[in-house]
Symmetry: C2
Amino acid sequence: MRYSQYFVPTVKETPSDAEVISHQLMLRAGMIRKLAAGIYNYLPLGLRSIRKVEAIVREEMNRAGAIEILMPSVQPAELWQESKRWEKYGKELLRFKDRKDAEFCLGPTHEEVVTDIVRREVKSYRQMPLNLYQIQNKFRDEIRPRFGLMRGREFIMKDAYSFDVDSSAADSSYEKMYQAYRRIFKRCGLNFRAVEADTGSIGGAFSHEFMVLADSGEDAIVSCSDCEYAANVEKAEARPVALEHAEPRPLERVETPHKRSVEEVTAFLGIPASSLIKTLLVVADGEPLAVLVRGDHELNEIKLAKIIGTETLEMASEEIVEKVTGAPVGFAGPVGLKVRIVADLATQGMKNFVTGANGRDLHYKNVNFDRDFTPSLFADVRNVVHGDPCPRCSAGHLELWRGIEVGHVFKLGTNYSEKLHATYLDADGKEQSIFMGCYGIGIGRTVAACIEQNHDADGIVFPIPIAPFHCIVSAVNSKDASVMAAAEGLYQTLTAAGVEVLFDDRDERPGSKFKDADLIGIPLRLVVGSKNLANGKVELKIRKGGEVTLLSLDEAVENVKTLVANALNQ
Amino acid sequence: MRYSQYFVPTVKETPSDAEVISHQLMLRAGMIRKLAAGIYNYLPLGLRSIRKVEAIVREEMNRAGAIEILMPSVQPAELWQESKRWEKYGKELLRFKDRKDAEFCLGPTHEEVVTDIVRREVKSYRQMPLNLYQIQNKFRDEIRPRFGLMRGREFIMKDAYSFDVDSSAADSSYEKMYQAYRRIFKRCGLNFRAVEADTGSIGGAFSHEFMVLADSGEDAIVSCSDCEYAANVEKAEARPVALEHAEPRPLERVETPHKRSVEEVTAFLGIPASSLIKTLLVVADGEPLAVLVRGDHELNEIKLAKIIGTETLEMASEEIVEKVTGAPVGFAGPVGLKVRIVADLATQGMKNFVTGANGRDLHYKNVNFDRDFTPSLFADVRNVVHGDPCPRCSAGHLELWRGIEVGHVFKLGTNYSEKLHATYLDADGKEQSIFMGCYGIGIGRTVAACIEQNHDADGIVFPIPIAPFHCIVSAVNSKDASVMAAAEGLYQTLTAAGVEVLFDDRDERPGSKFKDADLIGIPLRLVVGSKNLANGKVELKIRKGGEVTLLSLDEAVENVKTLVANALNQ
């Protein structure tokens, strides 16, 4: 592609309304343009990267035996009423009426539609396993669309749905998708982790998230230093801590004037945070509840909600705290408390710890379980922290990362098939519910996450597999006929060899050409300048790291071909 | 692809709600399934054909220098208000509000959005010509969606938009698209005509439609037997007819009791229809008007409206006819009429013709222009008919066809750019409006039109370039290990050679396999049966025409490869 005949509207200034780096760089590199909040035009460079991701996804889905179809954006309300999601989904589901007053929505996901196809066509166990996927435009009316393609309203997604005869067959479909996803993100050139995840409101049996590691990631994830264990912090299991062997000392009430926070109290008493237990008051389905967590740990509300089986969970208001404890916020403690108490596993082995004493400016020292109070339940309700022992292997410890979710695989079970009556006849002629799984990849988000992970002060640093072009040929002086001829030759030769080349044939200053090339992040750059060319040489610059080598034209062609081939065959 | 692991839900019965053959066959062949009125799921075979058309379109658009982008489905009302189409577009434009009560629509077309991109990024004449295209999902809330993919509500379209500095540069962009469209439909293997078309409500300077010829086509089109001329009947020009050389005879009023229609009057008087002139009364922008057309011709209201420059045009009611002529319907004539008279060009040379006499049961014989009345205007206001002389060349005559519109190219001029203020600075630094063109192809409709043109009693007869697979390998007896091994070998060898093979490895009766193969219309079929295989032979059957040849396995592979290569390189 000749740059002079292409459409790459780069921008020097950082756009003021873009908060994250991928959003800033995609705007500056002329990859996307905003049409409305959370709704973007994909300009040529952006679309090319998206198509690269799509192609990798398609190849790996086909390799795993999934079959491509394409479902509509506009979906009739009836199907969503059958699955009970028409009411449940909330305002993210954009609903409207057509000219005949029939109700429709813009599809945020396609469980209903695909299950409708399958219930009409699949009658026998012989027709499964079946895995149908599509790469399609979704719409979710996010309340706060932001971060460019990272959290848009209209976005491109690959969604796959598996249909199996039973739970173990569904597990095998899930495993195929899990492995396909690993190959997809590896082939995209991304540093990622597959982590165990909470199944959330979709209510499946189990799930994994695929996270691209990046400091700007919205999600906290952990992985073991030694084994394969990795999980979202929402879900990561904490191992019980060993029992302290100490004699119980007598309970002692101490004055702690104006000391409320863990930091204030432990500093005042001269003890480590790990010797204090925080008493947190929450309201679960309308009932107040106390939760005990070690001073240096944090409550994980998702774990807590799941363990106590509550639908709603929120931190108690100041009024409720005062009512339940008889003291202002900051002095709650378990001793004498009249509400149900859930204690984190990490507190179970503790002796002679500090807690609040349910009175203004008062704490207890030397509190002990059973002697002073007894929790209703010990359970894992905290976030793991860096250095925690791995819950799976004996050797490793957990490392914390920030990640961006780009893929998600769910085992759904029979949730949708039961509601929509998607059944089949088994080998004995008995009617059974179909077991489902669903598997999503955010295509545009994968490109954005790639940029969050791969950029520097000058711009994007695309990995070769999803870069819009593999190589840019920059003719330094477009007025020098020999430079233009050599550059044109490189462009033609490399293109014929299957390398995707952007030929910067513009009549621009070299500095401006180099700035654009860095900004749009093309992995390999061949610089053709008068001086080097007089010696039969051109410069090859690797965008990542900036390594520069002087090569003959033939060597340059061979090097670029080899670098591209190696990157694509990983 | 192995048939046993694929998803091709074929149906024996003709679906009762499908009126046209392409709709019936796409449902029966398991290519599409209806989700709601005018909204379809594309199942694997249907999607494959659609992707084939998309790929050909993309290659030819790129070859013509157009640049691919992707714009959203959901578009903000503001842009449509700027172009004045928010009010004008009618109910086909599906409007809705998002959760914040902002108004949006589902894009039925993208002139507004693409013009918005261009007005923000294109500032100088140096940035043009520019042609941006996308392959994208459109939504038009048709009042009567029907015929499957032929007139759906949600559908896939390729839309391109060209931007040029002036009218003559816009012509050259138009010409490039026109030639690209010819290549596209030729490469799809379709019999088509590019016809001059009326520009309609989009209000462009000129336009061509690309019509796939099929008896079931909604459009009537003509083409010259000798030269390149072709046009939609709406627009096709009629050549003036030669002057009759006859002496005027005296005007004569004759009784024609109960004879009103052309057939009745000419039979009664013993004259050919071409010796009579029909007087049709219409109401144009509220004013009655008489139009004269030869007895064997038909009025073309689109031509008439354009010539007299009217916004609304309708046939006059009985009351108006009686008021204007003083006689019941069936006896109107131009002599003595007090309204404006437009006469068709084909009447201009006529002498001594018959017309109504504006009295019950009365006609005139030997009417002559100027002596008896004088029309305000002679103009081409009729439909051309089969055998009319070609308006362009001297030798040919016009042939009539039925066609299905699959593509449309428009020269738009500055209509949108003026309303949306899309301007550029010319070489002298003066601000100028951008000249636009727009160019559409219905992707799904192209597949449907292909089926309307290519089918027989057994099913679809796909041309190789857009068939879902090139070749089907049918193992006649799947229990015979040598048959399965030979079939598997053919499948592997052909696939490795780049032939797209559907391998019918199902445990089904041969008759059922052949019926499915015919129905889904795979162009080439290799039949592997025990008997022929014992002699080292397999059968090659060409779907179109049904020719069968017995070949060795090697010959079969070579023949299939050659047939596919020849079809794709046309």
